[in-house]
Symmetry: C2
Subunit: 252 residues, 2 copies
Amino acid sequence: MGTTQLESVPEPKYWHLKTVISEALDSEFQVGEILPNERELAARFGVARATLRQALEQLELEGRLQRRRGVGTTVAPPRVGVDVSTAQHRWPGAGDASWQPLDCATTPPPAAVLRLLEADTEPGADAVGSVFAVRRLRATHGQAVAAEQLYVPAASVPGLVPADSPAGPALAHAVLHELQRLPLEGQDRAVELGSARADDARELDRLPGSPVLVVTTRYLSGGRTAAVSVATYRADTCRLTFGDVGDLGIAS
Amino acid sequence: MGTTQLESVPEPKYWHLKTVISEALDSEFQVGEILPNERELAARFGVARATLRQALEQLELEGRLQRRRGVGTTVAPPRVGVDVSTAQHRWPGAGDASWQPLDCATTPPPAAVLRLLEADTEPGADAVGSVFAVRRLRATHGQAVAAEQLYVPAASVPGLVPADSPAGPALAHAVLHELQRLPLEGQDRAVELGSARADDARELDRLPGSPVLVVTTRYLSGGRTAAVSVATYRADTCRLTFGDVGDLGIAS
DNA sequence: TAGTGGTCTAGACCACACT
DNA sequence: GTGTGGTCTAGACCACTAG
């Protein structure tokens, strides 16, 4: 990486800096290679450390860099494609080895989830009081890429009585198993940008507040929302794929 | 006497600040309302302006706030759902009024796009030299939500000769029209986080570098990639939806 | 022209990962 | 202990919008 001083330009320094570093990454660095530390980079470019950090932050947002406290800044590998298509019409936990159930508790659902669960119930129907909240982790190539909270109303798993079910991994498996008994009629998926909650951040090995892609899924059965999944994917390392090409038998 | 580990891990100030402001937004503010300016908010909370800004940045990332230079910080409306499902199997420009063609030029494709265009060609086939680059804008409720660059190799629109086609809006329409003649066999879609390029930012009324959701689509015809679309959605205001519920005739 | 958010500086200290 | 990135401060000036 060169040591050229920044020319005076109308565009912000951090923006120009980002471009310069980005080009250096392409031409002079290998994946996994460690960059000079922030204080040295700032001095080399003749800017304050905060300005240099603004450029690094953007490059990390774009998946070009990875920064770890106490270690350093490294060149990130290309993002991994993670399939999140709804083509297969399967319940969560049905034959997808990348998902690992961790735990389950019974809890009142958050307001946003409650809205999805009750959106299609008739007025006067029983309110959704408490739900099974299954916690799952998704890993690919040994790396955790997503943490999920799956909300299942008791009505969707009539074989399980909340009061009789001690929270824990065993309950998580039981809930997923019971779900398979319902006919799955459709799914509804949305993706948006969010920032990692403290618990998700811990399981994804990120700092709280890191940018994440939040995938919300409604599972439909019997004309109702039988379950709601809120999955949090690492935005720095993941590319979410929705290929439907496989349906048509065309090799990719 | 060992040093007993006191569990009080100091939460970063900006994180706590974010929580406090977030709760205030829920209880004390209406959508569209203007917050006190940053200098006053910082003074009110007893922190430096930079720290206050770190909290506001996260809230803007989550779509809770909207900040405009020279104007102020306002409470953002809920994100709008934008359908990006591939269920309809249609070419771009076929009967979707939300997309508006703007312009078209002939240009060599960027390296990343070239890789997608040539991934499935046989060795020895003609290289993709130059492509039609159609620029489109997507708007909902009068608001621009996405800017797209659609790359169409000349081989996909044999009715058009690059050398004879003056760049401009008319060419954009012509390319989209010619595309319809090909049989569409499938689509391949991916979503990832990015930051807005300068030109996208201008059309989306954002600052360069703003977080965006990048949707990359491959259109397949004749076993080949007939076109590649790179669409940049505003991450602050958009929620991308992939509903396949409509396929099954279930009302949402 | 006045007021806003955006950029930038030059420091300081802290939490964490290595050795 | 040493070195890294993460947080925080108290200023300054700039770019933009609106009255």
